[in-house]
Amino acid sequence: MPAEFLDSSRAAKGLETRTEAYLTQTLLPPPREYFAKIRIYLQRMTDTKRTTNGVHLLSQLNLENGDSQINAGPTIFKEPCESIRFRSGAQLSFGITLRSDGRNARLLSYRFYLSLLPASGLRFVRIDLNAPKDDYDPLHVPRCHLHPGFEGIHIPFPVMEPIAVLDRIVHVVEPHFVP
């Protein structure tokens, strides 16, 4: 086996270690408060005409054990559906799972699905943070990854808090596909 391939595995494991460290160290506000932050972020995106809607699609489910689900748009994207719409015609739906100890929250997982118009060259871009798992292949399926229009390709994506992912999608990813 070529040496560089063995290095890729080691590098992938190193990336996972950094991902795990970020997730361990990063404390988010309690789920209700974080939800409110996402809500006002989406509202501002509508106010500045990045999106045409968003806030009314947001919903939250807070369990007694402290786990929380924040969603916007369908869980499984399938048109026609109600999702966050960009002026380009692109659509976004997302789901974020948080785990709270009552005071702060940590990230468990998230999914951001950006559906693009046919002329974009890509059908979709999806950014996922998988839940922790003992046994997995970090090279082929890093915990935080981006799907560039293909389910089978997992490009490592720097783990970041959900509002930061939203920001990248709104200001960096989607604008590149504006016709």
């Binding site: 500045t48 045409t52 806030v55 974009s120 060259g121 604008p175 590149h176 504006v178 016709p179």
Partner: protein, 420 residues
């Protein structure tokens, strides 16, 4: 095909609506609104020129401006003050007495005290007052405030040779310190019975000082219209106004609507002129005034002409309600993520205003209003009816008639239809 994202600043509807709200704030100080050029001066309705002319031509005259809540009295007074300020021989002093002291309790001499304070400020900032006048001001302050706030300050490491008096009941050494209560607004001067003659004499020293320099004063008293009941108005104003008349200082003052319906006193016995500010003509087909009020404030940026007309009609001619309605329509559009104010936002605003007038209506009052809507007339002859008039649920029409506030009439019709 991927493109580079635009670097131009994105449009922000939040800023657009904020700018709109700034121009449609029913609680905005009249001074700020005038300063920003948001006032529509309409000769057929404005009285400020008459007020100013009266004060200019007849020195020492006392004029009263009466109108319902939200009719624009403060704006007219301030415009009159501006008009008078153009005359170099005149010093018009705008005084919101209700901001300076508590008018809701016995507060004799309040007008004199506040007038004296304002005269002093004008003198101290523009002229070189003699020592005797400063002494007059000190005496006036004492008469106005009656006391200074004092607190005991402990001073454990005092020098026994200091003037600590051990006979003082305090536990330890220290001293009384007079403190000025600081804050955003200056503290009001307290309400109590003052010697009106003493105050008048003090104020007279100041007015004489100015008259000797060829300066004529006009006292523009605002806030007295908050004294909704006529007898409240007289208890505060009567003695002071009589004393001010002797000082030959012209007076412009606001008064409550109830004073026009009061039994007993004839306001013409106390005032040289009484100016009445009625509700404006609400129908834009009859008078363009209310439409112009909206246009001057930039309503056309967000509201189409036909919706502006709807707002005018729904306001009943109450200026503040017109501003409120436009604002509410703007709020509804903003919350709706709309770019402009649409018909549903206007309709909701009218309904919201009507609902707010519905709040607190008693059974008897509802009956009075229903009778009006059925064409049975209205007479402000009892307490319930007067309250409807004062709270603007009933509005005076231009020719001694009355109508139910249009926004309230609309929701009352819904309530009636709903219960049938």
């Amino acid at each position: 095909m991927p493109t580079q994202p635009s670097t131009a600043a994105p449009p922000d509807r939040r800023q657009r609506f904020r700018t709109f709200m700034r121009r449609f704030n029913p609680a905005a100080p009249a001074k700020a609104t005038i300063g920003e050029g948001l006032i529509c001066q309409y000769a057929e309705r404005s009285v400020f020129k008459k007020l100013a002319a009266g004060a200019d031509l007849t020195l020492g005259s006392q004029q009263l401006l009466v109108g319902g809540i939200g009719s624009g009295k403060t704006t007219e007074l301030m415009l009159a003050q501006q008009e008078l300020a153009g005359n170099t021989q005149m010093v018009p002093l705008y005084i919101d007495v209700s901001a300076e002291t508590d008018l809701s309790t016995v507060n004799s001499g309040a007008l004199l005290a506040s007038l004296g304070m304002h005269i002093w400020r004008a003198v101290a900032s523009n002229l070189n007052p003699p020592v005797s006048l400063s002494a007059t001001y000190k005496a006036l302050t004492k008469a106005a405030y009656g006391y200074q706030e004092q607190v005991w300050v402990e001073q454990p490491d005092y020098d026994p040779s200091d003037d600590y008096d051990p006979s003082d009941y305090r536990d330890g050494p220290g001293y009384y310190h007079t403190i000025k209560v600081s804050g955003k607004l200056k503290p009001p001067f307290p309400a109590f019975r003052r010697d009106v003659k003493e105050l008048a004499d003090l104020v007279s020293s100041m007015t004489t000082f100015l008259k000797e320099r060829g300066i004529e004063l006009v006292a523009v008293f605002d806030g007295l219209d908050r004294l909704i009941k006529a007898d409240q108005f007289w208890s505060v104003a009567e003695q002071d106004l009589r004393a001010i008349r002797l000082l030959e200082v012209s007076v412009l003052a606001t008064g409550p609507l109830s004073i026009m319906y009061g039994q007993g006193r004839q306001i013409k016995d106390y005032f040289d002129e009484v100016h009445y500010l009625p509700p404006a003509v609400a129908d834009p087909r009859v008078s363009p005034f209310l439409l112009e009020v909206l246009r001057v404030r930039g309503a056309e940026d967000l509201i189409r002409p036909e919706q502006m007309q709807k707002l005018c009609l729904a306001s009943g001619g109450v200026l503040r309600d017109l501003i409120s309605l436009a604002r509410s329509a703007g709020e509804n559009a903003y919350l709706d993520d709309a770019d402009d104010i649409e018909v549903r936002h206007v309709d909701r605003a009218i309904e919201q205003l009507g609902n707010s007038y519905l709040l607190g209506l008693g059974t008897q009052q509802k009956l009075i209003l229903q009778n009006m809507l059925e064409g049975k007339g209205f007479k402000p002859s009892d307490a319930e009816s007067m309250e409807l008039l004062i709270t603007r649920r009933v509005l005076e029409q231009s020719e001694s008639g009355y109508e139910v506030h249009p926004a309230l009439a609309a929701v009352l019709a819904q309530v009636t239809n709903g219960s049938e």
